[in-house]
């Protein structure tokens, strides 16, 4: 068995764009390149962070990994088995092993379900637990593992009677109740109060260590990513532009986009409050339907050279420490 629990190889997901009558006659087809050749490995028991601004394809990646969307191209390998295409039965097994926590804890639970029913649902679907009592015990245990105690008090409540943090705990309990191997957490704390974020992440980390879980943590928030993850991949416009250990990536960012992201983080430091930051980046993110030629970041890159636009897209290249970066000139940038 390899170190890697999940292997994503050259994943692509294209969405067809609605065509006009003229385009239909000309048989033109346009696609939104939501994911455009993404490869990464996730190690067993690690927390893998996927970072990028909105629209960069990080959530789509998570959904393709969950098989909520089918990939257009590429390969998914779980534990050495190819799981790119799955039949109904295999999908059931796969979804027991891979679970997802959604961004919005307010929307991810049916408002008509009590917490008991929310947690009973995965057990019913996967036919876990022989008797009602057994299932009830599992539900209570799952609630206790996410530190919702006393669990009995929550069972008959509705989601709207809980706080955002409590809901996200219930959502976590729902994924954990099936003992998955991988949990895809899509911005699990972005809609939770700042005050409870750290607590929630700590709980997730505790659970991970207890159960030997692997997380794929999707976020746009560098600060929680550094706090929470072991390795981080930075995505830009459907591609990974930099991948390294969390501390290494943030302390020694190599790609100009990563640098811009780090520079954009707001710091509540006295004296800097009224200081408007100059972010080393230009313009807006281009449309994923019209990817720029060459390096896709070059229109916004302040270090862009003429060859960035003309030469083919740079691939991820490794430095001596295994720090991967997709920039032709990263070495020159360091010297500047």
């Amino acid at each position: 068995m390899s170190d890697y629990i999940l292997d994503v190889k050259n994943l692509r997901k294209l969405f067809p764009v609605r065509r006009s009558m003229k385009q239909m006659i000309k048989k033109e087809r346009n696609f939104v390149h939501a994911i455009d050749g993404v490869s990464f490995n996730v190690k067993r028991g690690e927390i893998f962070g996927l970072i990028g601004e909105s629209g960069c394809g990080k959530t789509t990646t998570g959904k393709v990994v969950m098989h909520l969307l089918e990939s257009t191209e590429g390969q998914l390998i779980l534990n050495g088995d190819d799981v790119t295409k799955l039949d109904k039965k295999a999908l059931g097994v796969y979804r027991r092993n891979v679970q997802m926590i959604f961004q919005d804890p307010y929307a991810s639970m049916n408002p008509r379900f009590t917490i008991r029913r929310v947690l009973l649902e995965p057990l019913e679907i996967h036919n876990v637990g022989a008797t009602q009592e057994e299932r009830e015990a599992m539900i209570v245990k799952a609630l206790e593992s996410v530190k919702l105690t006393p669990a009995e008090e929550f069972l008959d409540r509705y989601p709207h009677m809980l706080s955002g943090g409590q809901r996200q705990r219930v959502a976590t309990a729902r994924t954990l109740i099936l003992n998955p191997k991988i949990v895809v957490a899509d911005e699990p704390v972005s809609m939770v109060d700042l005050s409870t974020r750290a607590e929630l992440l700590q709980m997730m980390k505790d659970v991970q260590q207890e159960m030997g879980l692997t997380y794929i943590y999707i976020t746009h928030d560098l600060s929680t990513a550094r706090y929470f993850t072991d390795r981080i991949a930075v995505m830009y416009l459907g591609r990974i532009v930099e991948l390294a250990n969390a501390d290494d990536l943030i302390d020694h960012a190599k790609h100009p986009y990563t640098k811009a992201l780090i520079a954009a983080v707001c710091e509540p430091v006295s004296g800097k409050v009224n200081h408007i930051k100059e972010v080393p980046i230009e313009g807006e993110i281009p449309s994923a339907a019209h990817i720029p030629s060459g390096c896709r970041f070059h229109p916004r890159c302040i270090y862009a050279q003429p060859d960035c636009a003309t030469e083919p897209e740079p691939e991820l290249q490794s430095d001596a420490n295994g720090h991967l970066v997709a920039c032709r000139h990263w070495n020159d940038l360091k010297r500047k």
């Binding site: 959604f102 408002p111 679907i125 008959d156």
Partner: protein, 478 residues
């Protein structure tokens, strides 16, 4: 509240929890006054259906609604009896008079029975008719006379009947007593008056209950007091007379009056309740269940399935129901059940569009995606996640479909295509319209069935709205 929840959990079993859920639902429901009004109304309607045999003045009203002989002793177009409370002149109400003081005399081959039928007349407006009725077997003659409060005894009629089996015997005083009454009047009225008010034009009842004085033909003054019908029966050989009585067909009648065919409207309304409930609930339930499922399935699968299902829906939606029902009733015998089935076949389209648009919205919710990530099957998502959301809407549209179905039934009845073996509110209204009840001012024929239809619709609307408020957690105020 909290302790109650904990307790519920510790008891554990499923049945108890369902019971607990119902109790908490009911406790919540009780807080909505309009919901309770709806429940009370519904219970009243159900009570009427259950107690039908007890509150029906004419037990066979339902089955013999169109049998004119069943209603022949009633007055026609009579207002409800309680209208007397609001008028200066009291009209005679419907009454059944029973014989008293029976004296039997037997001689070889003959038997005589003398009886008296007392009638305490205290009204200003005489009855429309009085009928002498009995079940008679054998060779029987009746001699009937009337003793009036002023002491005069007026022979009414003598008649003879023979029947080997017990059969209905009926004599209408209006027609049988003309000659005797006219002779009686002639003793008081001027010949010039009796020339105008002759046998054919005089009103027998006016004379019988008027003071014996000149003018009793054209300006009768009611004589109140104790009247007695003296009845003597002569039976030759073996015979039997049972259930002898006088039926006073008044000018006012019962709780709801009568229609132009002498039918008791109250009986019709009571009999119609069960059919209204049956037609309304069955049609709306079946058609809403079909419509909601159809809409959800269409929205859930989307794409080509959605397109095809929507086109089918549009075709059915635009089909005019009425001509089809007319054709169908030419093919089949008009029958309650074929009518309900036909209505279901067309009514389901009502809720599809709304449900589909709601379904499209729910489909995109994150919790549907979350359920999918848990590997929930399509049917699970449809039946456990989507359909329950539509229950409040379903109840509301059911509530709206109930009066629609009842009204449609009456429309069909209006065209003479209703089920002739039953009586429905719609048919009563249809008869009223045929009998131009509105033009004649027979409001008791038109208003009560209309009010009942409105009440029936209100019942379900109130219940639906209250359930909507409770079952929709976002509107909850817990």
């Amino acid at each position: 509240m909290k302790t109650a929840l904990v307790k519920k959990t510790s008891t554990g079993t499923n049945g108890k929890r369902a019971k607990g859920l119902f109790t908490s639902f009911w406790n919540e429901f009780k807080r909505y006054k309009y919901g309770m009004v709806g429940v009370v109304l519904l219970l009243m309607f159900i009570l009427v259906v259950i107690l039908e045999p007890l509150i029906l003045p004419f037990p066979e009203a339902g089955s013999r609604w169109r049998d004119i002989t069943y209603w022949q002793d009633n007055p026609d177009n009579a207002a409800p009896a309680w209208t007397n409370w609001f008028t200066a002149k009291d009209k005679t109400p419907q009454q059944t008079l029973k014989p008293v003081n029976l004296v039997e005399q037997n001689e070889p081959g003959l038997s005589f029975v003398d009886g008296e039928i007392p009638y305490n007349y205290q009204y200003d407006d005489p009855p429309t008719d009085i009928a002498f009725r009995a079940m008679v077997q054998g060779d029987v003659s009746f001699i009937v006379s009337l003793v009036r409060p002023d002491g005069t005894e007026l022979p009414l009629f003598d008649t003879h009947t023979a029947s080997s089996v017990p059969s209905d015997f009926r004599v209408s005083l209006n027609s049988a007593t003309i000659d005797n009454v006219f002779e009686f009047v002639r003793g008081y009225e001027d010949p010039s008056v009796t020339a105008v008010y002759n046998r054919r034009t005089m009103n027998v009842m006016n004379v019988l209950f008027a003071k014996a004085q000149p003018g009793m033909l054209y300006n009768p003054e009611p004589m109140k007091g104790q009247y007695t019908f003296k009845v003597t029966s002569v039976t030759i050989g073996a015979g039997e007379i049972t259930d002898a009585r006088m039926e006073v067909a008044g000018k006012v009648f019962g709780i709801m009056g009568t229609d132009s065919a002498k039918r008791d409207i109250w009986s019709g309304l009571v009999c119609g309740t069960k059919w209204a409930l049956l037609i309304g609930i069955t049609t709306s339930l079946v058609s809403v269940v079909i419509g909601v499922t159809y809409g959800v399935v269409s929205s859930f699968f989307g794409g080509i399935v959605d397109t095809v299902m929507m086109r089918i829906h549009e075709v059915v939606y635009n089909m005019p129901l009425l001509p089809i029902i007319i054709v169908m009733s030419a093919v089949f015998k008009p029958n309650l059940w074929t009518m309900i089935i036909l209505m279901c076949l067309f009514f389901w389209t009502g809720s599809v569009r709304t449900v589909r648009s709601m379904g499209l919205q729910i489909k995109e919710e994150t919790y549907i995606e979350a359920a999918r990530a848990l590997n929930a099957s399509n049917s699970r998502i449809i039946f456990k996640h989507m359909l329950p959301q539509l229950i409040p809407y379903s109840f509301a549209s059911m509530a709206l479909a109930v009066p629609g179905a009842i009204l449609y039934e009456s429309t069909i009845s209006l065209l003479g295509l209703g089920d002739a073996t039953i009586v429905t509110w719609g048919q009563i209204l249809q008869d009223a319209s045929n009998g131009s009840a509105v033009l004649q001012g027979l409001w008791w024929w038109v208003v009560p069935p209309g009010i009942l239809m409105g009440l029936m619709g209100m019942t379900f609307a109130f219940i639906g709205f209250a359930m909507d408020t409770i079952l929709n957690p976002k509107l909850r105020t817990r």
